[in-house]
């Protein structure tokens, strides 16, 4: 739900894969998209979307990243960088 995924290959270079997978590759071509967001854009519930994404992951078509884990998140410098980024956003 809260992990993000990102395309590992451009959609245009993966023409032989199912159209649904290509759609996903296009949706996650940027700096990473949350599984929750991807599911909403695909008009799917989170769990079926995650099952679908697991298939793409297995094929090496996408990479995924969990949310910052606690020890990472509690790194005070990182927290400060988020804060200053938010201030400028």
């Amino acid at each position: 739900m809260h992990s993000t995924v990102r395309a590992a290959v451009p959609a245009d270079d993966a023409r032989s894969i199912p159209a649904e997978w290509q759609t996903i590759l296009r949706l996650c071509a940027g700096p990473g998209i949350a599984v929750a967001e991807l599911a909403a854009r695909l008009d799917m519930r989170v769990t079926p979307a995650a099952v679908l994404l697991a298939q793409l992951l297995e094929q090496g078509l996408i990479e995924h990243r969990p949310p910052m884990s606690d020890p990472d998140a509690m790194n005070i410098d990182f927290l400060r960088r988020i804060r200053s980024g938010l201030e400028r956003a």
């Binding site: 739900m1 809260h2 992990s3 993000t4 990102r6 590992a8 290959v9 451009p10 270079d13 940027g30 700096p31 990473g32 949350a34 929750a36 967001e37 599911a39 909403a40 854009r41 519930r45 989170v46 769990t47 090496g60 990479e63 990243r65 969990p66 949310p67 910052m68 884990s69 990472d72 998140a73 509690m74 790194n75 005070i76 990182f78 927290l79 400060r80 960088r81 988020i82 804060r83 980024g85 938010l86 201030e87 956003a89």
Partner: protein
């Protein structure tokens, strides 16, 4: 042929930014959807998840019928920063189901509990939930009706907050700057909590 490096166009690929998860909770009608929408860079999305007792990994399921499966809906919004992507999850109002939902808290950095002082009781469940699981949070009182009848200390007393350091801020859920101010207050709270106890700042 499958080498991403050789396939990459001239443009540098976007960095894969670390995701940071923040929960926006509070009872029905306190402005969660409005707040997520005000601060998100995308039109907020509604995302659905089906919860069922069979799939939740709770050891003690006594008293939970299989038919207690339910669909919960969350609002999703995001703010892309230079160092991370903030993912905002407006939690579903059915707090009675949260306990069987491990994923709700997993990976969350912190939370915002929205309150409406005319209906404080609607936010008790969220406060209890985060306190019992030690997730840091700030309380944000929505003033979109132009005023609040209570000041922050009265709200603190009424909510019986366990941690005296939990910030309480007044805000307007419709205004982007105002919601961002709440998130900044959460970051300040997290930064203060991360300070070693012996290294007080002055």
């Amino acid at each position: 042929m499958n080498e991403p490096d050789t396939l990459a166009p001239d443009a540098v690929r976007d960095a894969y930014l670390p995701p940071v998860k923040i929960l926006v909770a509070g009872g029905f009608g306190v402005g969660k959807t409005t707040a997520v929408g005000a601060v998100s860079e995308i039109t907020p999305l509604r995302t659905e998840e089906r919860l069922s007792a069979a799939g939740v990994g709770v050891d003690d399921l006594s008293g939970i019928e299989q038919k207690s499966a339910t669909t919960v809906a969350m609002d999703f919004g995001r703010i892309t920063l230079d160092v991370a992507v903030l993912m905002l999850f407006g939690t579903p109002g059915q707090e009675r189901f949260w306990f069987m939902w491990d994923d709700l808290l997993r990976g969350a950095l912190g939370a915002v509990v929205l309150v409406d002082t005319r209906r404080l009781d609607r936010s008790f469940a969220a406060v209890d939930f985060f306190e019992s699981r030690d997730l840091p949070f700030v309380v944000a009182a929505n003033c979109f009706h132009g005023e609040q009848d209570y000041d922050p200390e009265e709200i603190r007393d009424a909510l019986t907050l366990r941690e005296p350091s939990t910030p309480i801020v007044m805000f307007d859920a419709r205004r982007r700057d105002s919601v961002r101010g709440v998130l900044l207050a959460l970051m300040d709270h997290l930064i203060a909590s991360a300070q070693p106890a012996h290294a007080q700042r002055t």
